[in-house]
């Protein structure tokens, strides 16, 4: 399940989503991305996330469905924040249950990479010097129409 929320991504929310581990799973891998205090040499004060929510949730669900097809995993979840976030606040969370850790790690990596590339979510960085700017993944901005992978 993929969804966008304007509420904090906290333990209660994650545990509610994860539920009871499937009995045939030996691994749970999760990834959490949070707001960092710098980007490209500039001191960041806060981040504002804007989403095209209806489409973001469709594209996000498609990515999870793809992960379930590509990897031998049992369940996959992703939550993404919208709104104004402070330094250290979780912006995105991915969780994957699988029988074995190897697939869980790989699927988790696949999901976060695809989410960053395809889900219609934008972020505006507010800098310590009071300026602000919309962030564009540089590789995407230069070859936006080509499918590619990068860190």
């Amino acid at each position: 399940m993929f969804f966008i929320t304007s509420q904090p991504i906290d333990d209660r929310l994650k545990l509610e989503l994860l539920g009871k581990p499937p009995s045939d799973c030996g691994a749970l891998v999760s990834f959490e991305g949070m707001v960092r205090d710098h980007n490209e040499g500039k001191a960041v004060a806060s981040l504002e996330y804007e989403c095209y929510r209806e489409m973001a949730e469709k594209v996000g669900q498609d990515i999870l469905r793809q992960a379930l097809k590509l990897f031998p995993i049992k369940a996959a979840f992703c939550i993404h924040r919208e709104g104004h976030l402070q330094i250290g606040e979780p912006a995105v969370w991915v969780g994957v249950y699988a029988p074995h850790r190897e697939e869980a790690f790989r699927a988790c990596r696949f999901i976060i990479d695809e989410v960053k590339l395809h889900v219609p979510i934008w972020k505006k960085e507010h800098y310590v010097d009071l300026s602000s700017d919309w962030v564009a993944c540089h590789q995407c901005a230069h070859s936006h129409k080509e499918h590619h992978h990068h860190d």
């Binding site: 095209y52 594209v59 960053k116 934008w122 972020k123 505006k124 901005a141 936006h144």
Partner: protein, 80 residues
Amino acid sequence: MKTVHVLYFAKLREERGLSSEKITTAARTALELWEELRQKHGFSVSSDFLKVAINEQYCDFTSQLAPMDKVVFIPPVAGG
């Protein structure tokens, strides 16, 4: 002429000063619509740096527009 619903996000929303509008246009494709809007409103972004979605699905700029389509020009995304 047909009427389509255009939504704006992020940089384009700020440049347009609106989140959405109904547009009556002779444009046949998404690209023709973008060029029309760009000329009218002076957006700073070229279509080379955008993707387009019609009715919540990514599609080509050469896609044909139908009446009441929901069209969104998507600046480079930056989730995560």
